[in-house]
């Protein structure tokens, strides 16, 4: 039992352990942005209502604004900065550029991290609200992509490009 209101936290971000001294109140989002200088992850609503802060935690997409950093210790966090392989962009990053899947770009890191997690969910057999058949392996048509990506709002309205970009990567 600790009486401490803050302490050292080891955050594993993009494969690297980072030791930070954090207030218990600090969210993973603020730890990334304000303490680790990883500002690719965006704050849009800070309440899990927009998806701009989406990162991958142990491979699953999560809203980093609702995770206390101290509670994420020991888990593997992947941010948008960790998707590219050196200078080689992740296929989704390339596809978002090719299909103009963004305008202002502020929701984009969250969209891309979310899409990475979403494709893994589909591969793992997770159905969605629009899946007619809950048991069969999901077929990723456009309505499926739209539903599965609806946790990522885009106020510029780049949804058509986002769907096209994900479609291209999903179809290989």
């Amino acid at each position: 039992m600790t009486d401490q209101l803050r302490g050292e936290v080891v955050l594993r971000v993009n494969g690297v352990d980072r030791v930070v001294n954090l207030d218990n109140r600090t969210t993973l989002l603020d730890a990334l942005r304000e303490h680790l200088r990883l500002t690719g992850t965006k704050k849009g609503c800070d309440h899990g209502q927009c998806g701009a802060c989406t990162v991958l935690v142990d491979g699953e997409r999560a809203n980093s604004c609702l995770l206390l950093a101290v509670a994420v210790e020991g888990r593997a966090v992947t941010t948008v900065e960790g998707l590219a392989d050196g200078d080689e962009l992740h296929p989704l990053q390339r596809a978002f550029i090719a299909h103009d899947g963004f305008q202002c770009g502020y929701c984009t890191p969250g969209q891309i991290c979310s899409a990475v997690g979403m494709l893994a969910e589909v591969a793992g057999g997770l159905p969605s609200w629009v899946s007619a058949d809950l048991v069969a392996a999901p077929e990723l048509d456009d309505d499926e992509i739209r539903e599965r990506m609806s946790g990522n709002l885009c106020r510029c309205g780049a949804y058509a490009g986002i769907v096209a970009a994900i479609r291209e990567v999903a179809d290989g």
Binding site: Q49, R146, G157
Partner: protein
């Protein structure tokens, strides 16, 4: 869906890798965090700000309120004059700010602050019978508050067919994904800000006015902006707080409004109530158009949404009357949101046109074609290009309008009712003068600087192409520098004028640089060659009515069990002249259509009149369209050349796509269900109210 041709965005790689830096993201040492505190009464006077508990936290550095804030000077609206007096004009108005060494301490300090008030009576209802309604002389963008041609009442009385209905739109919030964000520092009497805005020069001017210093003493850096849609046109109350905090503490201060704070510390769109009366002859010829628009402003500043402005220009009628009335409410001053005036006004007018078409038993497309004006109806000016009919015809063709049975509520398959609707779109051509600097270097590269900003429009990329074109060199030899007020006086990204205005300035600078280079025999001097151009004198004369046009065609399905509306297809055809970049232009048009669909179906800020409260101040309860709400979206640009347009040959595109799209949806809902929804958004209970 094709992204259109045109070069991909210059900053695309930075945006998809997270490298693109937005205002709040600059690593500035020793920076303090600022948390503004909003009033918890709708009207009143602050009697005490008790900061004892807040200041007990050693991480809290300062609490600023009206008693210790430095004096500001009037700038654009009174909302930005933060912490200047104890008077509270609306709930959520900034009454204090907590400054702390950590974000967590600033937020908790704000919670610990005890602000006491004497409450005064308040008014927060937009009521057509409000005895205190004002009749403003002018509206935003300089239109007359009232304009009358002919005798509308007599024409309505004599009309073969008339419709008379009231259309309302709720307050709407711009809700850019990036909230208002700023890092402010003072260096003596110089103010340095990294700021999220729609025009670094306008920001410098605004901060300069507020602080009583020349704009060139304000250095604004705005490399990337996470959307604006009108909410970041001028310094917002929220952002100004950071400059105050930096002044008080003498340290750099950063502030990012919470989503909730955005609802009162940044602007929004007013609610509107439009009574539209149309009179027509049997053959569909309009004989009278009457648009009576009611909207609100705050009690501290007059902002008049130009709700009736599109009605001035759309359809021919000998008798035309447009009136604006204004209520003054204890709510934040509303200001511009994407296509101010046009968006709510065209929802009303284009819905009314659909109603008139049904009253006449006439195809709504034919009704619009019938009333095509030879000159602009309100002004009599010749059009500087008018392509509405072209857009309507092309859209009808692409959409398959000709086979439409107009009968409402007869197309049912399973639980779905199907329907289609159309509406016109219009947006005026604006262009502002400004400066740009072009520099040639001996190594054969070129640098062009302009105080432009790319809020997602693709301006950076379009300007890069424009520079390469003007200089006649490959784009790889060109660097475009934007996003700094130090680059000189320049347009806003607003009124869809940004790219045209900046493009005009950079082209002029490039042409002049080319001439100067020719004088040097084509060789670049060792020190390089630099010219600065100013387009202030190159503006379009007010001798034509210049607009871009469009037509929306919409197909909906409505769940007969529940009344839920789904847009299956939204197709727009637009005439906007030359596009500097077809790809980003296409995205802009689609984005406008998506926002139009969103305001049609789900957006509304709910006012609790008892409390003077914007109730649903977050993205869970203020609904904007999700990816799942968007299907079958198509934007087509009509090939045409208008000689009499902007310096770059194009017209604005950023706002055109939103105008009229909500009416196209509502008209399709009527066709599907037989229910005419005249109040946005089109919620289930409205569709179900038979």
């Amino acid at each position: 869906m094709s992204a259109g041709s045109g070069l991909p965005r210059l900053e695309g790689r930075d945006k998809v890798t997270g490298a693109a830096r937005y205002a709040y993201e600059y690593p500035i040492e020793d920076c303090l965090y600022v948390w503004p505190v909003g009033a918890t009464v709708a009207s009143g006077t602050v009697t005490e700000v008790d900061a004892t508990a807040a200041l007990a936290d050693p991480e809290v550095v300062a609490v600023v309120d009206h008693t210790n804030a430095p004096r500001l000077r009037p700038a654009v609206t009174a909302d930005e004059l933060v912490l200047q007096s104890p008077t509270v004009a609306y709930r959520g108005q900034v009454v204090a700010a907590v400054v702390a060494t950590t974000l967590e301490a600033a937020r908790e300090g704000a919670e610990q602050l005890l602000v006491r008030y004497v409450e005064h009576p308040h008014k927060a209802v937009l009521d057509p019978d409000d005895p205190d309604l004002e009749q403003p002389e002018t509206t935003n963008a300089g239109f007359p508050g009232t304009s009358v041609k002919g005798d509308v009442d007599a024409a309505l009385a004599a009309a073969d067919v008339a419709v008379d209905h009231i259309y309302t739109t709720p307050p709407e919030h711009n809700n850019p994904m990036e909230t208002v964000a700023i890092i402010a520092r003072w260096d003596g009497e110089r103010l340095l800000v990294h700021d999220s805005n729609q025009g670094p020069w306008a920001a410098a001017t605004g901060y300069g006015m507020l602080w009583g210093i020349p704009a060139d003493q304000v250095d604004v850096v705005t490399e990337h902006v996470g959307g604006g849609f009108g909410s970041k046109v001028w310094p917002t109350a929220g952002a100004v707080v950071a400059t105050v905090a930096a002044r008080v503490t003498g340290r750099p201060c950063k502030l990012m409004l919470t989503r909730q704070q955005m609802y009162t510390m940044a602007p929004a769109r007013t609610a509107t109530r439009s009574r539209i009366r149309l009179g027509a002859r049997r053959d569909g010829t309009l004989t009278a158009i009457d648009h009576d628009a009611l909207q609100y402003s705050s009690v501290i500043h007059e902002f008049v949404e130009q709700t009736g402005s599109a009605t001035r220009t759309m359809y021919a009628s000998d008798n035309l009357r447009i009136r604006h009335r204004l209520a003054r409410l204890n709510l934040p001053t509303p200001r511009v949101m994407r296509a101010p005036g046009k968006t709510p006004g065209m929802f009303a007018l284009e819905s009314a046109m659909d109603e008139l078409a049904y009253a006449l038993g006439m195809d709504p497309l034919a009704l619009r074609l019938r009333n095509e004006p030879p000159t602009e109806p309100a002004t009599g000016l010749p059009f500087g290009g008018r392509h509405l009919v072209d857009c309507l015809r092309a859209g009808a063709d692409k959409f398959g309008w000709a086979s439409r049975d107009p009968t409402p509520a007869v197309r049912r398959r399973g639980r779905w009712l199907f329907g289609t609707g159309l509406a016109s779109a219009v947006y005026p051509v604006y262009q502002q003068g400004g400066t740009a600097t072009a520099r040639a270097s001996p190594d054969g590269t070129f640098d062009v600087s302009v105080a432009a900003v790319d809020i997602g429009t693709g301006a950076r990329t379009a300007l890069w192409q424009a520079v390469a074109d003007a200089l006649g060199v490959p784009p790889s030899r060109v660097s475009v520098h934007i996003g700094r007020s130090a680059f000189g006086q320049s347009s806003l990204a607003g009124g869809s004028a940004g790219t045209a205005s900046w493009g005009g300035a950079v082209r002029k600078a490039c042409f002049e640089l080319g001439r100067r280079l020719a004088e040097h025999g084509g060789a670049v001097p060792v020190d390089g060659l630099e010219v600065t151009a100013d387009t202030a004198a190159d503006q379009l004369p007010p001798d034509h009515a210049r607009h871009s046009y469009g037509a929306h065609f919409c197909a909906v399905r409505v769940d007969a069990d529940t009344g839920q509306v789904r847009v299956d297809r939204l197709l727009g055809v637009f005439a906007h002249g030359h596009a500097l970049n077809a790809r980003t232009t296409h995205s802009q048009l689609l984005g406008g259509m998506v926002m139009g669909l969103s305001i049609a179906l789900c957006e509304q800020t709910i006012v609790d009149p008892r409390l003077g409260l914007f109730v649903n101040h977050d993205l869970a309860q203020y609904h904007i369209a999700t990816n799942a709400d968007i299907r079958g979206l198509e934007a087509h640009s009509l090939e045409h050349t208008d000689d009499d347009v902007t310096l770059v040959g194009g017209k604005g595109i950023g706002e055109l796509g939103i105008v009229g799209s909500a009416a196209a949806v509502a008209n399709a809902v009527f066709h599907a269900t037989g229910v005419r929804v005249r109040d946005l958004p089109i919620t289930v209970e409205r569709v179900r109210a038979r």
